[in-house]
Symmetry: C2
Subunit: 492 residues, 2 copies
Amino acid sequence: MGSKLTSRSTDYSKWYNELVVKADLAENSAVRGCMVIKPYGYAIWEMMQKELDRMFKETGHENAYFPLFVPKSLFEAEEKNAEGFAKECAVVTHYRLKADPDNEGKLIVDPNAKLEEELVVRPTSEAIIWNTYKGWVQSYRDLPIKINQWANVVRWEMRTRLFLRTAEFLWQEGHTAHATRQEAIEESELMQQVYADFAQNFMAMPVIKGVKSESERFAGADDTYTIEALMQDGKALQAGTSHFLGQNFAKAFDVKYTSKEGKQEHVWSTSWGVSTRLMGGLIMTHSDDLGLVLPPKLAPIQVAIVPIYKTEEQLQAITEKVEEIAGQLKSKGISVKFDNRDTHKPGWKFAEYELKGVPVRIAMGARDLENGTLEIARRDTLEKQSVQQSEAVERIEQLLQDIQENLWNRALQYRDEHITSVDNFEEFKEVIENKGGFVAAHWDGTEETEDKIKEITKATIRCIPLDFKEEEGVCVFTGNPSKKRVLFAKAY
Amino acid sequence: MGSKLTSRSTDYSKWYNELVVKADLAENSAVRGCMVIKPYGYAIWEMMQKELDRMFKETGHENAYFPLFVPKSLFEAEEKNAEGFAKECAVVTHYRLKADPDNEGKLIVDPNAKLEEELVVRPTSEAIIWNTYKGWVQSYRDLPIKINQWANVVRWEMRTRLFLRTAEFLWQEGHTAHATRQEAIEESELMQQVYADFAQNFMAMPVIKGVKSESERFAGADDTYTIEALMQDGKALQAGTSHFLGQNFAKAFDVKYTSKEGKQEHVWSTSWGVSTRLMGGLIMTHSDDLGLVLPPKLAPIQVAIVPIYKTEEQLQAITEKVEEIAGQLKSKGISVKFDNRDTHKPGWKFAEYELKGVPVRIAMGARDLENGTLEIARRDTLEKQSVQQSEAVERIEQLLQDIQENLWNRALQYRDEHITSVDNFEEFKEVIENKGGFVAAHWDGTEETEDKIKEITKATIRCIPLDFKEEEGVCVFTGNPSKKRVLFAKAY
């Protein structure tokens, strides 16, 4: 504690990095680009996992586990994927270290233990999974396959940032196989909706559902459905994607089924994933200059209780009362931490729970004991109020709901204020440069224009929103005709 | 279905491999030594994870996540560990694949993308974790650290078997740091007890708690606490270990704390883990020639219901009744699958649920409808009985408890019948060779004797049991004095 965070207005990026480390969420490790997720950060990720996993199962998916390694040749089988992903990846070439004969105490790679075929640490698992599905699918009776995996993946990123872009990250990847095109498209859309629901209902993070332009699509996908969020610095964050893969992987790995009519058909497929990047999105959607702000539904500690006392007798009397209230809160499924450490002062503890984003903080002192009251502080607005102990449980329960709702409304308002429709390129540049956020503009549909706009403004097409209506217009850059606005933004 | 399993008496090892594949638990992958854990197998593993995770948290542990990769130099820092583990491991040497200029469609490792320092895919995480803890520990106030991680690890095993020994496997690894020797020893013992409780109460798998002899200890441990189970072929399975690491890792990574008295002290530590190997133990403890037998507490499907009908009307009437009963079972937390697929006959379904170890199978036919009955079959004893529908829920609930208990008793009896005390080496060889199981024998405490016994009989010291009393005796091999019997067995 003690040393304050850099403020967002001073240096947003520095604020983020400091917050992640000081709030005990994650830190850099001895391995370039790989992070250590600390217990408090991991507890938030576990809560996300739990809800997502429930949602996946409720929509008919099962979990499984596929190997960490992908033989190099499987990437060759799926060329598009190889071009898109396999370039920067961790390659295992040997299977033994041995003592260096020329240098005592040192280890070297044993040159005699070279693998016949190199193994790639999975950057994503389409290749290994479709190579497996090949053995599982013969008939239409074997379909659909609706599998999810929770796993670590590695992409050799050059510039990394905690949670947002790391060489190793944790994610889930769904991989489904279907008999028909229509069913696979419906699955892709369903999972985009599941992600959007999770972002809204648990993260209190507004997202825009859309599809990617061809150049922003996952290599190997016919369509990429995305959810795009907006961070407080006006940059967009791609928070989850769901890919309609057509028959691309089925063709690359020769996965066919016999239809009811006895015909051999290639299988249709999807894949979809969200990652620990969501942690970055969660942090940057709600937090402030005092530290993390967590929506109650994803807070490992929802209520922190700090006693304020001078004598042991006072502490004992406070403890008795606190345990009664804490018990009632817990019986309602509310997580409570009574912080009776004698190694830290109350003020220090207040600052710590602010830094860590605990939604509700309660203080109880000697005067509260006399008056039958306690002080409730909410993290989102920093408001405090004195409340009768007898009403505390009910008030806190309501307050947690209010905070969840307030965070959503606040984030939604910010996001909506940062979608700007523009009709010429001067205005486009002006908004991207100074206001930030999403720019809704007409685009002529060509990759060339997309590239040029990116070159000039660093803004990319985040998505073609599903709920944008068709309208006649002209591309802000070329003046060529366009039928729909798309959303541009600078992005993480 | 259809093709029966090889019987255990014909070829135990073949029986096991067939069962794992046919019951849809796991299969080999395109990557040597790495398995695919299929949804049904993974669902069992998830149930194990859930209970273990709860037990870890109830004993004050938190989850976190550390990097997959360990820089080679960190293994050098911990020499003992390097000798014990780092020899056979996956080594990442490069970070890029590129198109082969001489061979279209092929990928090669980019020679310009060689890592400055090779990375080892973690075979266990002591090195990377203690390198991290160094930054977390300054004062006694920072202790204890009680962290667990659920992760994948890789050990380059030459001979692999599904679940029992695979190059990549899933596990949890606890890594704790303490201010005192005594606290660290208590932690090691506590986690051994947690593992033993889990084995008994959920897996219905009896285990013997003991400590390892020096030669069987984890490299880097001062003491290894183990739980040892017995499989139906008379071979032992090490099911979980908890290591008291002394100050070995703290010294290797220079992790010191300032005590209350202001002195600099090295930290004391433990590590402990169980893995997907437990799946192998679960399978081999209870299963029979018809397939898997699962204890109800770890069964993804506890009750399977199969309708037997000729007409659509019958199916409809059965469905109505089944849904009523299934609803009542689910409200008691019992997992139920109503298998109304019209693509398979009832007999086929019966065989499938036997193969997959579903504890209770219910059949309901037209005559049952008339009589208000249903047929209940239990997987452990294969007994069937006709039961009034009105009593079904209560009977099933009781039956699930009975099956859990019966599996425990059966396994316990088998295990106890296979602990043989012997007092001379002829008898020792005889029992190891013909009867199998554990042999309780005096041993002179030397590694030399241990090695010779292993050379002659293939039996190793599984553990020095905690509950064996001291008694005067002489080593079965050398005749030298001994104060305690130890347990020998052939082992997985």
